[in-house]
Each structure stands twice: as structure tokens, then as C-alpha cells.
Amino acid sequence: MKRTVLTLGVATLAILIIMMAGRSTTFGSTMEDKPATQVKIDNFVFSPNPVTVPVGSTIRWTNQDDIPHNVVSDDKSFKSKALDTDETFTYTFTKPGTYTYFCSIHPKMTGKIVVQ
């Protein structure tokens, strides 16, 4: 009886390990399937603009100017710190919608992300 319990315990542990391994593999491949969409900030312009992506997508903004910029949504739902040259900001859009954003340091710079 004791032996059976032990065997069962080992078997359960083995199944758990396999399940966890399977989950982590699935998780890893999900990340690889959806690399961040790049938006560059260059010459005081966000490009490409607008950007249309599926729900769950991550956008990565990279500042290529010699002047700091930031990325602030008009409704303040996301806001980066000031990005110095070559610094990046990433944000994952989990709900569909149209997100307008701007650089609050240079408000003439505006952009739009459409999440479908």
C-alpha cells in the first residue's frame, strides 16, 4: 500500500513536470510569434504612423534624435519617461481601440496606434 502511494506520487510529479515544461514551451513560442512592432522617433516624427496591430501586440518606440522625446497617450493611459538618444519604450495593447499619443515635450509630434 505504501509503495502504491509512493508510485502514484512519483507519477503525479512526473505529469506535473511534463505539464509545466509544456506550458513554458508554449509561452516561449507565443513570445517569439509576436515580436514588438517598431516605431522610430526621428527628426521629431513618429514613424510609421499610424500603426495597425492585432490585440495583444507590443509596440517599441526608439528615439533616434539628439533631443529627448516621450510617448504619452492623449488619455494618459500610457506614458513613457523622457527617452534620451537610443532609449526605448514598450507598451502592450491588450484591448482593441484607437490610441492617439504625442510627445508632451514637443506636442506638435503626434501619432496613432489602431488595435484590432
Binding site: F44, V45, D66, P68, K81, S104, P107
Partner: protein, 322 residues
């Protein structure tokens, strides 16, 4: 002496409209400093590079002060890898003026990224200036990340709202305005209703002969809205100053000197002490302009302002750091 004649620009408020030759000449200075002399309510402007040829007597008025701008402490990109060095050169230039200024106005972008050590660096260097009083207004680079909290803690002790204030010196009324806060997507610089209302009450008691000097970071006239070089509600601010015979507006932000006269108002933008920016529309963006190292100091500068009671112009003299 020939240099002096070349660089001096005298604006007379009795002339209407823009002195186009003078304006173009100012454009050519791109980035020099300025010395301003209030003479009889009108600001006289001289290029500092020409000051050596000007007599001290000519420069003398009831009040003289210096404007510096856009020191961008912390900037270290190719356009200028030593902004501390060029700010120091600007201070040396101030200390060498024939008439020592009563105080210094700094029209913002003190720092590049609003970092405490950047503010400290500027404070430390300005301790070396002969003029001990420095009056600030913030630039958009001084309020990054904290909505101007740190700026207000450092410089806003006697200020209202986001940092606006006024003071009087030798009969001249100075108004420091903040137009870099709560900027809206797609918009320009902004003063806001609260500040405009404060300004109205601030000038209500003044006689119309009081010379007014308004200073703010972003230009209070439409220099080039495409690059954000203007302030959405500047007309409302200037409208509140209509009764005054002499209004001088001093701005920074665009890293080059420009002047314009509109009725009773003379507008000046100042050079940066850190790096030049392109002329409006002359480049894809208003980013820092790299010039050959040996030319850098010729496009950076300070401005000296002089007031002489009884005359109708403040003298404004821009001079480069060369």
C-alpha cells in the same frame, strides 16, 4: 568700431511695422548673445560681439540686465559636447561687460533632462557671475517627468501657479511667464486661463507709461508653428498689455536671435549658450545643428539689455561667445 555699427540694431517704437533690414540682420546673427539697454522705455539691442567698440557711456542707462537662455546642462551630443564650458564662456562674457548688469534673466531649458545634477551644475556656474540675482522661467526640458515639481522647489519660492511671477526694477515691470506646462497634443506653447487672469490683475494698477518686460521660454509670437515655435494663447497675453506704450518680450527656445516689432511690442528671441538650431524650415526638424567646432562659439551667445528713462527704447545687444 566698424563692427559696432554693423552689429547694433536700434528699434524705435515710433516706427511702425518691422524693420526688415534689421530683422534680416538679426537672422544673420543666429545664435549670438544680446545686451539690452532700456532707454526711455524702449529696449536697445546690441550684438555683444560689437560691444567692445561701444563706449560705456552709450551703454549706460537706469537699468541694465542680461538674458541668457537654453543652457541645456547635461546635453553631450556632437552639436556641443561641453555645454558647461560654453555656459562658463557666457558668464565670462557677462563679467566682462562695460556696464555690469543688475541681474540675469534665464529664459529656460536650464537643463537638458531635468536631472538634479544638471540644475546643480548651472547653479554652481552662475555663482561665478558678477550679477548675483538670477530670475528664471522654465523651459520644457526643465519640467520633464514631474510636471515641474523640482523646478518649482528650486526657483518658484516667490512664484504663483506653475511658476509665474512679476517684479519691479528701477521703474520697469518684469513679468515671468510659464508656457511649457500642460501642453496639448498637436498644440504649441500654452499659458492657460489661470495665468492669463493673474497677469491681468498683475498689471491693472500700473500706469500706461510703465515699461513692461515679459519673459518666457517659448516665443510669444508665431515664429514657426510647424516646429512648435509659438504659443497658442500669446495673443490673449499681449492683449492684456495693450495700454502700455512700451512692451518688450524676451524669449528663448529657438536657439537663435530674432526680432520683430508689432505696434507697441518688440519681440526678441535669444541665442542658446549650448547649441544652435536651424533657421525655421531650413532643416527637416529643429534638432541640434552641428557646426564646425571652430564656429560653435560664434553661434552661441548672451543678450544685454539697457533701459534709459525718458527715452522710448530698451537697448538689446546680442553678442556671440567668441
Amino acid at each position: 568700431m566698424a563692427d559696432k555699427t554693423k552689429d547694433e540694431i536700434l528699434h524705435d517704437h515710433n516706427h511702425d511695422g518691422i524693420d526688415r533690414r534689421g530683422f534680416l540682420k538679426c537672422m544673420a546673427w543666429a545664435g549670438t548673445g544680446a545686451f539690452c539697454v532700456m532707454q526711455g522705455g524702449v529696449l536697445k539691442s546690441y550684438s555683444l560681439s560689437g560691444l567692445a567698440g561701444s563706449s560705456a557711456k552709450e551703454m549706460k542707462g537706469e537699468l541694465s540686465f542680461v538674458q541668457i537662455s537654453d543652457s541645456h546642462m547635461g546635453f553631450n551630443k556632437p552639436a556641443n559636447t561641453d555645454v558647461a564650458g560654453t555656459l562658463k564662456a557666457a558668464i565670462d562674457k557677462i563679467n566682462a561687460l562695460p556696464t555690469q548688469p543688475s541681474f540675469i534673466l534665464h529664459t529656460g531649458d536650464i537643463t537638458h533632462l531635468s536631472k538634479p545634477e544638471e540644475f546643480d551644475g548651472v547653479d554652481q556656474l552662475l555663482k561665478g557671475a558678477s550679477a548675483k540675482d538670477v530670475f528664471y522661467v522654465p523651459g520644457e526640458h526643465d519640467v520633464i517627468g514631474d510636471d515641474g515639481k523640482q523646478y518649482l522647489e528650486r526657483y518658484g519660492k516667490n512664484a504663483k501657479g506653475a511658476g509665474w511671477y512679476s517684479f519691479d526694477q528701477k521703474g520697469v515691470h518684469f513679468i515671468g511667464l510659464v508656457n511649457v506646462m500642460n501642453l496639448k497634443a498637436g498644440g504649441l506653447g500654452s499659458l492657460g486661463t489661470e495665468q492669463l487672469e493673474w497677469m491681468e490683475s498683475d498689471v491693472k494698477h500700473l500706469s500706461k507709461s510703465t515699461p513692461i518686460v515679459v519673459f518666457a521660454h517659448i516665443p510669444l509670437w508665431s515664429v514657426y508653428p510647424e516646429w512648435g515655435w509659438g504659443t497658442d494663447d500669446s495673443a490673449q497675453a499681449l492683449g492684456r498689455l495693450k495700454k502700455f506704450g512700451s512692451v518688450t518680450v524676451l524669449n528663448g527656445h529657438i536657439h537663435q536671435t530674432m526680432q520683430k516689432i508689432e505696434g507697441n511690442v518688440t519681440f526678441h528671441t535669444a541665442a542658446s549658450t549650448a547649441f544652435p538650431q536651424p533657421k525655421p524650415g531650413a532643416a527637416p526638424s529643429p534638432g541640434p545643428m552641428k557646426v564646425p567646432a571652430e564656429q560653435l562659439k560664434s553661434v552661441l551667445g548672451i543678450r544685454d539689455v539697457n533701459y534709459v528713462q525718458g527715452k522710448h527704447a530698451l537697448g538689446v545687444t546680442d553678442s556671440s561667445l567668441e
